[in-house]
Symmetry: C2
Subunit: 361 residues, 2 copies
Amino acid sequence: MSGSVNMSLHAVFETVETLLLKQGFSESHAGAIARTVTAAERDECLHHGLFRIPFYIIGVKSGLAVGDIEPTVTDLAPAVVRVDAHYGYSNLALEFGEEFLAERAKQSGIAALVINHCHSIVALWPEVERLAERGLVGFSFVSYLPYVVPAGGSKPLFGTNPIAFAWPRQNSEPYCFDMATSASARGEIQVRLRDGKSLPDGWAIGPDGKPTNDPAQALRGAQLPFGGFKGSALSTMVELLAGPLVGDFLSYQSGEYDTAKAGTGCGGQLVLALDPTKFTQHGELDRQLAHAEQLFTRILDQEGARLPSQRRYEARKRTVRDGVMVPRTLYDTLQVLLDGGTPTSRNDWEGDHNVDLPARA
Amino acid sequence: MSGSVNMSLHAVFETVETLLLKQGFSESHAGAIARTVTAAERDECLHHGLFRIPFYIIGVKSGLAVGDIEPTVTDLAPAVVRVDAHYGYSNLALEFGEEFLAERAKQSGIAALVINHCHSIVALWPEVERLAERGLVGFSFVSYLPYVVPAGGSKPLFGTNPIAFAWPRQNSEPYCFDMATSASARGEIQVRLRDGKSLPDGWAIGPDGKPTNDPAQALRGAQLPFGGFKGSALSTMVELLAGPLVGDFLSYQSGEYDTAKAGTGCGGQLVLALDPTKFTQHGELDRQLAHAEQLFTRILDQEGARLPSQRRYEARKRTVRDGVMVPRTLYDTLQVLLDGGTPTSRNDWEGDHNVDLPARA
């Protein structure tokens, strides 16, 4: 295990929180980011974990993102609550809105949380998982920075535009997915570039608009939506829900706004919560959840089939016990930042909010 | 144009309504089905058009579906309304619930319509399009009859589980999609069987669980979800929303319930409506819709890219003016049914609620 440092999840949290305070983030932002980064490390979602810390800091130093402003909450309707992030990161805005969203969903049966003016460089599964832990069904939609071409087209327009969904389970982690509507994560292309590997068909086009298996051409061209016209239609839906519906940027506008190319484009987000007990006449949550288990059992009974997020949940069991192994170079960078040092420029960090981490030591 | 009969859309509607009344359907059911079938003919969605009439009748004659029962409406929560279809077809249940759903969405900002105990052999775009015509954003989810295998697995479990979405537009038909989460419609496989053509890769597996390009093997095996594990996760989500969430059947249970193999399996449906004016601080619908047009323009500016449903909307312009061409064999069948005759058995109709129509004359 040379070349890497073992850290407990507690140490990860403490390090991130302390480091962000030192870097000028407010306590509430530092805490919210530390919770998300620790959850990502716990689940071995490495490119949303410690690796992402310099991005948060560079976003603020570039003058685009704000690290010490409190979100504000407004009710837009009995079942719609809005959090204005005031150009802070979404981590805190989502935590801020969650209690209101859950309360409205329990009152009305279904409710929506609108987030405006937020910088988001985080996965969506944390917020929908938290809703599921409250016994609610959750959806989350966000668009961001134009990397993906509409099916049939030739120029990047959509963000990787993820859709997340979670369903509560009684004796295990939620049924949860958090999927880009692009064929791959951007980081998966960059990792293949680094490793000198070619791309599978269907991932990307080059700057000439033609399909490519060359990761360098792909990064200069555009990613493709997953599943052809169907994935493209879903990506368009995400643009509408996280943009015009909530009065915030489309992905291409977020790209225009990111003048510093800090990779922390700005925009809106939509989260929905449904209270299952309000969707049947007698509100029998236990029965509803037991019913869903019949489906999960029939999926898992088929060899080769699986439920999404299982890899995350398996990592979770391991890291809660054993902690995580952090590459020495990243660990050293964190020490510099803890001393109040400045992260190197974005390009030194492989220049993309969706980039993947080098393999664990 | 020999071998086909020209009918105006008005004549289509009158024929269907009269025919269903003659076959024992109530006025409200006959009217609702006639509206949906006429809309499908208008949009040249042939397998939801006149072709489908015998299926409606066989469903009732099999003793599973009920053609003359009124749905009942209950409020489950301030933003959740439930329609019990009492084993009637969904066409009427959806019309019944729509006014309530729209009203609740305008009050609360977002609302849900639960449909229970309905037989559904209809597309989902009519209800979401109608919501968009009211200035609302609509979602619809339904599961049905186990034809589709979970990604990586080998046995059919999911329905073709469509997701429909519509967004209102000011000077054109809504942005709308209605997509199966399976790689293809079942009818597309049957048409290839009829025409002696092989299937594209990625559509189906045979009864041995291995990929097949043979449509006969595919129909005895299972369809594949679109987009691999991502489509499979979406299909699972639809099962949960239209089943356990609303206290109704999963697809495999619907299959077990369809003892008569009438192909009109029974279950639940979930429709969501969002009022865009409740999702921004100043509720400026015009501005929100104009903003969305910036996205649509940028999609359509790319050669090769398109918006979903455009083929339907183009057909609509044509058929409103010229009427539709109905194959002589189908036209003759309709005359028999108008005289109170009995449709031939389901198998004579190519045996599937998702079957496609022979090509137009």
